[in-house]
């Protein structure tokens, strides 16, 4: 018998009601999955990245922006029936109380707070702790079990202030006014945050975006996020001898930088905005000339501080560098467990540049 944070007495272990099934995290007494990686009957989605929000579930519960993102990406195939839940609003699913609380990761991102027989488990999804002009900040909720990511679960990952990184970008733009500044950024979340940060830093010129970002940027604007004037990066100008859009900022998905698409620009300075840019070998692998350490995931200090803030005696780690985070959690006196969820890390920066590149094995 142990005392839970809600003050109730509970005899059952948390793993008896929240389990890892073939489709992902499965809440048995509620009959629903959280961020399942294959179609299920009932799903609670923490946010819109495709490795968390897949198409084809019969019923989906999520915040309104997350549902809008799902719809924008998959159209009518997104889900059967959807239910929007505001931050803080509580519903009961089966025997389980469910609340969504801001996670600070991207627009609409939420932690799922689950309560069952006096126990509380928080499934945080992906999260970060620092301010982001495009979404409300992470709210720590005291719990018995905190389910956390560990994308940047090594003490070398301590992200700098984003204003400094934007400052370096603007300095480079001033120093190389004849070159296009081409920024690789994930289409959902990172791109809009970088744009919003540029606006905050006083950059008022139009920002040019890759076609793959247009719908999501419009969606952010519809939800009231001010991104200033955006223009399509292609087709705006005819061919110029030195390349198109000299001295302008262009955002594109990281993969597009390597594609023929990027050849149209004026001797581009290739910038990549990602937490992985903290490590030089990774930045070089990404061919970044201007690596910008801007991340939507908690860094090492934030991961550790969050475990303290939610005061959870037990921590489950979903994906990332589990080993070091579990070690650190144990050193804080918590029980730690790796869930090793599959299918994570296919969108956004969870998709680490592979630790070993092919380059080293050649020759």
């Amino acid at each position: 018998m142990k005392t839970s944070v809600t003050g109730g007495k509970s005899g059952s272990l948390p793993e008896s009601w929240l389990k890892v099934s073939a489709a992902g995290l499965w809440c048995e007494p509620g009959g629903f999955h959280i961020d399942p990686h294959r179609p299920v009957d009932k799903a609670v989605l923490t946010h819109g990245h495709s490795d968390h929000a897949r198409a084809g579930h019969r019923r989906v519960l999520a915040t309104a922006p997350t549902l809008a993102i799902l719809k924008s990406r998959y159209g009518d195939a997104a889900a059967g029936q959807v239910q929007a839940l505001a931050y803080g609003e509580e519903v009961r699913i089966g025997e389980v109380g469910v609340r969504l609380v801001p996670a600070g990761h991207v627009l609409g991102s939420a932690q799922a707070v689950l309560e069952y027989r006096g126990q509380r488990i928080v499934v945080s999804g992906d999260f970060k702790r620092r301010a982001d002009p495009t979404c409300p900040p992470f709210e720590p909720v005291a719990c018995d079990v905190f389910v956390t990511e560990a994308t940047f679960g090594l003490p070398v990952f301590r992200h700098p202030h984003d204003a400094e990184e934007i400052g370096r970008l603007l300095h480079s733009l001033a120093l190389f006014p004849e070159r296009t500044h081409l920024i690789g950024a994930y289409t959902l979340g990172k791109a809009q945050r970088v744009i919003a940060l540029l606006r905050r830093a006083g950059f008022e010129r139009p920002i040019y975006i890759h076609g793959a970002m247009e719908k999501l940027c419009r969606l952010y604007q519809d939800f009231g996020v001010d991104l200033g004037e955006l223009r399509p990066a292609t087709g705006a100008q005819g061919n110029r001898s030195g390349g198109e859009l000299p001295g302008e900022i262009v955002l594109a998905p990281p993969s597009a930088i390597a594609e023929r698409w990027s050849r149209r620009f004026a001797e581009p300075v290739t910038a990549v905005a990602s937490g992985w840019m903290r490590v030089r070998a990774r930045a070089r692998q990404a061919h970044a000339e201007l690596p910008l350490v801007i991340s939507d995931h908690a860094d090492w200090d934030e991961l550790l501080q969050t475990m303290v803030d939610v005061a959870a005696p037990e921590v489950w780690v979903t994906h990332g560098n589990e080993e070091a985070l579990m070690y650190a959690a144990t050193r804080q006196g918590r029980r730690a467990r790796a869930l090793a969820l599959i299918g994570r890390g296919e969108e956004d920066e969870t998709a680490a540049v592979p630790a070993q590149s092919g380059e080293a094995t050649l020759l």
Partner: protein
Amino acid sequence: MTPFAHLLDALAYMSSRNGKLRLIADYVAHTPDPARGYALAALTGELSFAAAKPAAIRAMIEERVDPILFRWSYDYVGDLAETAALIWPVADSPGSNRPPSLDWVVEQLAEAERGRVPTLLAGWLDQLDATARWALLKLVTGALRVGVSARLAKTALAQWSGVEISEIEEIWPALRPPYVELFAWLEGRAERPSAEGLAVFRPLMLSQSLEESELEKLDAADYLAEWKWDGIRVQLAAAREVCLFSRNGDSIGPAFPEITNAAEGLLGVLDGELLVLREGEVASFNDLQQRLNRKTPSTRMLDDYPAHIRLYDALELDGEDLRQRPLVERRAALETWFREKRPRRMDLSPLIPFASWAELAELRANARAEGIEGLMLKRRDSLYVAGRPKGPWFKWKRDALTLDTVLMYAQRGHGKRSSFYSDYTFGVWRTGENGEELVPVGKAYSGFTDEELKRLDKWVRDNTIERFGPVRAVRPGLVLEVAFDAVQPSTRHKSGVSMRFPRVHRIRWDKPAAEADRLETVQKLL
């Protein structure tokens, strides 16, 4: 420290030469003395202080960070100074002191006894951010590696100030960090510093490649011929002190103490080829490479790879400037001087007698000795002119060797070539355990036109069978005829061989991959 750290960080990632020049000029324009001078010295490798050893840095970290977390982190990052910089715990009361400036750091380190270095470092690391910590640790371990040569740094100063680079290079040996008088001159606030009595680098005279069709327009009687030695071009400047310069004006004297010792007491500026010489025989370039890789050689290296200069020209002798005199006169002066002084570890590059171009062509065709790259032709009346004037000097290299190889991997380039698969790893056939297989023998990223590059890039994209990061493995289906200067044994390559200066000679769109060359053919060239 922070502006310097930003410069170093930006330089490390910037691939274009022009970009690097602009970054340095921007830094110099916005940074006061003496910090900018020390930064320049750090970039050109002219700072000296008690360097910290990696073991000392490791010990500092292990006092402050959980050793298991440190080990995992180091495994992940792969570089000690970088790991230490990233993982360094933030001080409890940051901001109690101002972050140290670069000049403060350099001046303190110059005075500090080695034993005090860790304490000093720890204090500074507590006050700096991650990028500045990285720069500091790279600085104190003496491993900047940001791709800036002394020549590039001086070029940046020239561009920024509008002063000719040759004028900067001539006075460089008279200058010491932090170069306050240099900046005063470049900013028009003071007279040009004087370099009288010092060993000074004189910009070199360079040759053009000979197009054989040009020969018939030239009169053989106007030219002297010498072998083109397979070493590196150097300039030996001996005055009150002795300096050995690379062709770019980088000082390489400390790496070749036997040469600078041998030149003690001489007075002159000599042009020649640096070689490894054993019992009068020129050793392979690979042997010289062993010495070039070391900033200061061990006694063993000095014994195993003895250095030597083969002289071919003199710019100054015994205080007299010869550059405005014709080559034949300079050569005569050099020969007389050499007979009188008999300097150790030097000899004269012999002149090759010849009566006609045909005779010379035959000599060239039959020259297969290790140390010879081809021929040099120099007009008898040529003055010593800095740069690469058209006409007076030609290099006539031995014909390159070529092989038909198969494209195996392609990697994306940098800068302008970021979206092109422009770096090609190629292989040849051998019989392995499972039958015929390709084994890589080299990598090339030049020798094709922009149009060909577009076509190669498309071929790579259309024939990719696997991707690893920026690299694509391709179906064995494209034959590249590769030209190279020599084949060397190599322990670093799977095939056991490596090539010198490989470049794409022709793209054999027509040739089936199965008809490319075999490893045995390559081994015969060793």
